[in-house]
């Protein structure tokens, strides 16, 4: 099992379960690791097995499916054909937007079909991701800075930010659908008459606004937790040395909160890349608000295997983004979430 793999360096827990040994490792220590390893295998086995069943099996199954042809009526002969191996046809279908033609071979997917929507769905997904995460980061940072100050009613504000987070996304979507209704409060408040879910850009901004409202609190709380780990003495020392507020923010707050901030941004980015509920309920994916996840769901009833190929592409995109974050931008999630307990208060 995974617990046996590799010579991964094992760091001692901060407050060791067995008395913490400093200095060179003795023979007894090795035995202890072995016996703890046996314990760990037993304790971890249920979780690993459960996740293997609910995640690893579907991944492998989806990849296998994505190389199969979908069963269906052959438009040329009018007969029902079984699937069979498809090679990379399903992937070509999406990425090159080449659908199989009635006469055999492939043609460019006609507009309006799901096959023709791959790149626009990808663009929409990335638009939502970049814009919502940018807003959430800036707004969340600002909210965290306010909540980190001491003032009367601070605990009330901290409680209030949990309210949007606690409301289920499906309810959030319906709520904003109502707010953005033609006769709804958004139009009345700003004295506009926008058909919010009726054309492309208002629909996109409606999704962005609802998502920012719902998830900024989560961002703010993660950043606040990072802010609170900065010792106050650092700020006092900087003040004594005559640093301005802006200098203190740029030279102390930002670098010290960066690890927490990067983790928060990574979490939110991966969440936004798989966005489904909000646009699905708020706009139904109309007016170019179809994300990759919505496209997969729309495809399922037209053909499992093509949907499997698309979901595999989505998975790879998300995996690549996570990899880039961890590798190049220094969001060391595992270290942060910490097997070591280092960097604790």
């Amino acid at each position: 099992m995974a617990t046996e793999v590799g010579p991964t360096p094992v760091k001692a827990p901060a407050s060791g379960g067995t008395p913490v040994h400093h200095g060179p490792k003795g023979v007894g220590e090795d035995n202890k690791i072995l016996s703890q390893g046996k314990w760990a295998t037993w304790l971890l086995a249920p979780t690993i097995i459960a996740l293997a069943v609910v995640i690893v099996y579907p991944i492998i199954s989806a990849i296998v499916m994505s190389f199969q042809k979908d069963a269906g009526l052959d438009p040329a002969t009018g007969l029902f054909t079984a699937g069979g191996p498809a090679g990379v046809q399903n992937y070509v279908n999406w990425i090159a937007q080449q659908c199989s033609a009635p006469a055999g071979g492939t043609v460019a997917c006609p507009p309006g079909t799901l096959g023709s929507q791959f790149w626009s769905a990808t663009a929409t997904t990335f638009f939502f991701t970049v814009v919502t995460v940018a807003f959430e980061t800036v707004l969340g940072f600002w909210m965290a800075m306010i909540m980190a100050r001491t003032f009367k009613g601070r605990s009330m504000v901290r409680a209030a930010v949990l309210v949007p987070w606690a409301i289920p996304t499906a309810v959030t979507a319906k709520l904003w659908f109502f707010i953005f209704a033609f006769e709804g409060i958004a139009n009345k408040l700003f004295n506009t008459s926008i058909l919010w879910t009726g054309s492309e850009w208002p629909a996109k901004w409606a999704v962005v606004i609802a998502d920012v409202w719902k998830t900024t609190p989560f961002m703010a709380l993660l950043i606040l937790a990072g802010l609170q780990m900065i010792p106050a003495e650092v700020y006092e020392a900087a003040k004594v040395d005559g640093a301005t507020a802006w200098q203190r923010f740029r030279l102390i707050t930002l670098p010290l909160v960066k690890p927490a901030l990067m983790v928060a941004i990574l979490f939110r980015t991966l969440d936004a890349l798989r966005m489904f509920d909000l646009p699905y309920i708020l706009t139904g994916g109309a007016n170019n608000t179809t994300t990759l996840s919505i496209l997969v769901i729309n495809q399922i009833r037209q053909g499992f295997n093509a949907a499997a190929a698309l979901s595999t592409i989505t998975f790879i995109i998300i995996f690549l983004v996570a990899f880039i974050f961890v590798r190049f931008l220094g969001a060391n999630v595992v270290e942060q979430s910490g097997a070591t307990g280092k960097g604790k208060k």
Binding site: T3, E4, V5, G6, V10, A12, A14, G17, I33, G37, W39, A40, T41, L43, P46, T47, I48, A50, L51, V53, I55, P58, M65, I146, M147, F151, R154, A160, V163, P164, W165, A166, I167, P168, A170, K174, F178, I179, E183, K188, L189, W213, F218, A225, M229, D271, R274, D277, I281, L292, I297, I300, A308, T312, F315, A322, S337, G338, G341, K344
Partner: protein
């Protein structure tokens, strides 16, 4: 002499002015904090408040803009539970509670053991396991749904409770393991050590000393797990039937008496019913929930 006193006086005046300036600056900064706090409060609460107010408005006053509700009625709550338009909101509430409880229990029971091992034991491949579980928590739901849709169609599980519970565990279990791991790491483990010195086995020490200490953390994790399961929509929207659909799906598909009319007030009433217990839970256990939310991510 006089020059000295006058210069001393002017010095004092100067100091006074400086102090007042600093005080004003302080007061101004404090004022800005309060204004910002008010903006945050309004931004977070106003839309939710609008849902609750609308839930109490008579249908004819759906688009009323008065801040305090006029034409108050409880009809919308009755309409929400009305089954004559094909809505099964009451059943959906029971479904959500059932699914949430089962998912939370399963995830906690196996997740707590994993978290204990990750927080307390030294073994090879720990980072690999942590990475695997973290990866699992970030996994896109759509990548699961296609194979599950086919599998459940083939074995006749479409629309059953187990078809909703099993995939849900893939979202909730990693969350449980992460939150519990960071809670476990902060516990006073000296107690376990002294219990072991007194002759307890590791298992006994875990059961008799650690579990009671961990009870509050387990409770918090249970709330987070339940809320996460309560929120689930993607899997449920595809794999549930009318009889097993949870509240999120019921609310998304809410139908009114006329086909083209959206029963907003009833939907807002349903939304209020679905949300209020969560909000109360969250407000009561605010501190613990914030600790749980941020523990897995930042510490």
């Amino acid at each position: 002499m006089t020059a000295a006193t006058s210069s001393a006086a002017s010095l004092r005046a100067e100091q006074d002015r400086g102090r007042r300036k600093a005080q004003n600056k302080e007061r101004w900064a404090q004022g800005r904090t309060y204004i910002s706090a008010a903006v945050i409060l309004i931004w977070c609460l106003a839309p939710a408040y609008w849902m609750v107010v609308t839930a109490f408005r008579e249908v004819g006053f759906t688009y009323d803009t008065s801040i305090l509700p006029t034409h108050v009625t409880l009809d919308n709550f009755r309409t929400a539970f009305d089954t004559s338009f094909g809505n099964r909101f009451g059943q959906a509430l029971l479904n959500s509670i059932f699914i949430g409880v089962v998912v939370t229990l399963i995830s906690l029971i196996i997740g707590v053991f994993a978290a204990y091992a990750l927080a307390r034991l030294n073994f090879r491949g720990k980072f690999l396991v942590l990475g695997f579980i973290l990866g699992a928590s970030m996994f896109p739901g759509v990548a699961l749904i296609t194979p599950l849709f086919q599998l459940f169609t083939n074995i006749g599980w479409m629309g059953t409770y187990q078809a909703l519970i099993i995939p849900n565990i893939s979202f909730v279990l990693p969350l449980t393991v992460y939150t519990m791991t960071s809670f476990f790491r902060e516990m006073p483990w000296e107690l376990e050590e002294s219990a072991r010195v007194d002759g307890c086995t590791q298992g006994q020490a875990f059961r008799k000393v650690i579990m009671p200490l961990a009870a509050p953390a387990i409770f918090t994790t249970a709330i987070l797990a339940f809320i996460s399961s309560w929120n689930e929509f993607l899997i449920a929207s595809q794999l549930s039937s009318d009889a097993t659909q949870p509240v999120t799906v019921a609310i998304a598909n809410f139908a009114g008496a006329q086909p083209n009319q959206i029963p907003y007030t009833a939907i807002m009433a349903a939304g209020t019913i679905v949300t209020i217990p969560l909000v109360i839970l969250v407000l009561v256990f605010q501190r613990k929930i914030v600790a749980g939310l941020t523990a897995g991510a930042v510490k």
